[in-house]
Symmetry: C2
Amino acid sequence: MITAKDIARELNLSQPTVSRILNGDEGHRAAQATRERVWEAAQRLGYQPNAVARSLRLGRTDIIGVHTSHNYDVRNDFLGAIVGALQCACAERHLDIMLHSGLYGSLAETMYGKLRDGRVDGLILHSSAGDPLAELLRESALPVVAVADALPGFAAVTCDDAGGMKGLVDLLWSRGHRKFVFLAPQENLPSVEKRRRVFEVELRNRGAKAQDRVIKRLDFENSAPVAAELRAQGPLAVCCWNDKTAYNLLHECHLQGIQVPQELAIAGFDGLRDEKLPARLLVTVRCPWDEVAMQALGVLVQLIESRGESGKGAINKEICLPVSVLDGDTI
Amino acid sequence: MITAKDIARELNLSQPTVSRILNGDEGHRAAQATRERVWEAAQRLGYQPNAVARSLRLGRTDIIGVHTSHNYDVRNDFLGAIVGALQCACAERHLDIMLHSGLYGSLAETMYGKLRDGRVDGLILHSSAGDPLAELLRESALPVVAVADALPGFAAVTCDDAGGMKGLVDLLWSRGHRKFVFLAPQENLPSVEKRRRVFEVELRNRGAKAQDRVIKRLDFENSAPVAAELRAQGPLAVCCWNDKTAYNLLHECHLQGIQVPQELAIAGFDGLRDEKLPARLLVTVRCPWDEVAMQALGVLVQLIESRGESGKGAINKEICLPVSVLDGDTI
DNA sequence: TTGTAGGCGTTATCAC
DNA sequence: GTGATAACGCCTACAA
């Protein structure tokens, strides 16, 4: 790899002179002739400044880290949506993205170390309430913005989970549904908590009895027995905490011959529904994940630029973006 | 940020002593008491070695770059599959991933510079034939492994496009189809070229006339007029170059009321078909993208480790992974 | 067992 | 205009 020193030697100049000229040289503090010689040599030798050395010197890498405490990678629709949008947003701002790969279940301490080893200027984080990693990060100087799920003590960009769930209940109620189940995940996600709470409040306000607005926890996998169980409880409307769960349930219904929406009406939440096939259009709530990512990046850049001023928590506002209910034919 | 020097000062030691102890200290070249003091202080002060400085010194970052010359991000099913699998594979090898965000259409030279500025040890590349960036990279010292589409002069991990297409033609022919169209993209992708060639050869061998094995180029977007045009040409089997194209076409058929598979039989290629909904199962060829990513990483690590030995092109083998035809109900 | 010296490649601050 | 000099934080070789 060819360095500035190599160029300097070639031209009988000092290395800093080369560096100055190649760095824009705003003050015109170099002879025209020298400048041309330097540019020519740089071109000819294929000089590329070493970004690692520059980062060490400047204390800045222009790299944004992305990490999730959940066990998913970019193939997960949600994370893919976030990271994909970040890629676009980063390109405009001349930033790059680092995906911190941590084995799921590795110690929070270990991950914490990797995140603050100086390789990223800031972090886009997706985590859940009570995550030990978040606890650690809160005390650190690393700028962090949470996405989708707000974390106490961090800036965050989220979707209007409450509004979305209200809209969904409105729609379901208007279609005549009176018996409901909310399928929640095992993990404690703040966004899902909000949805769940609105689900309960809205239905209670409408006079639904406790047994007609049940909360049920499940994981991605085991939707087979759940489908059967739900069917047994007569016709009802199932609000799934995300689209993936809803699709799993739909799939099960197909396998078990359960009529949708006659026996089970199904709604999702995410806006990550698949529109490739027109056959079955899931009712869901569209969350603008691309916008979430863009805004999160904006806030993160602000945090990074204002680093050091008046403590880190200066900007820890939470931005909440509007959602919209998407109708379909599963309710 | 707290450095090794800080610890040294605190304990009245020299900085290298601290560094040595914290780095494993295999030779036991330190007093037990000193070691304990150092570890204690490191713990107490929350010391985290600066990875940027370390990288500068060691000439190694333990970061793998990912770049595509095409205009897509991680939300593209294919790229998502590759990057997602890479995330898993990297975690095991204690590597991290960098997504080089380059605005589509930015100069190859610019991108070339960013890729070899020392921030990544190697590169996973997805590109097409004749890409100027690939030309540049071929001359550089940066270890590169191409995925999905082989590039002359690079190591590559690909799928058995030829075998897959042969299997697909076998299946279509056995189902009685005798009139075919191959939908190809505008770009010149080596993998697609292989599929196209086998498509032609296999059909010619079976005695299909030229007008019954047509090649048609199109982009993602404009499948609307194409669908109508295809329908007009009577019942035929359409082999789409990838699943996304196939789904677009299916969608169009639905909108225009074209019967699938009676009027148009449709097959994809990728294995990125959506199985969330059981309704319409696309006939396609499953490409093991996760395996592609894993193997590519393996080769890349080999290249990195053997860097400097006997020129770079030492290992530029091409690994070709087996595929399988997936039946469905669209043909 | 520990400290000193040097360098990775860059940028910034000064003299000259 | 340009060249020393220093510093970013780390690791390695060698000397003490």
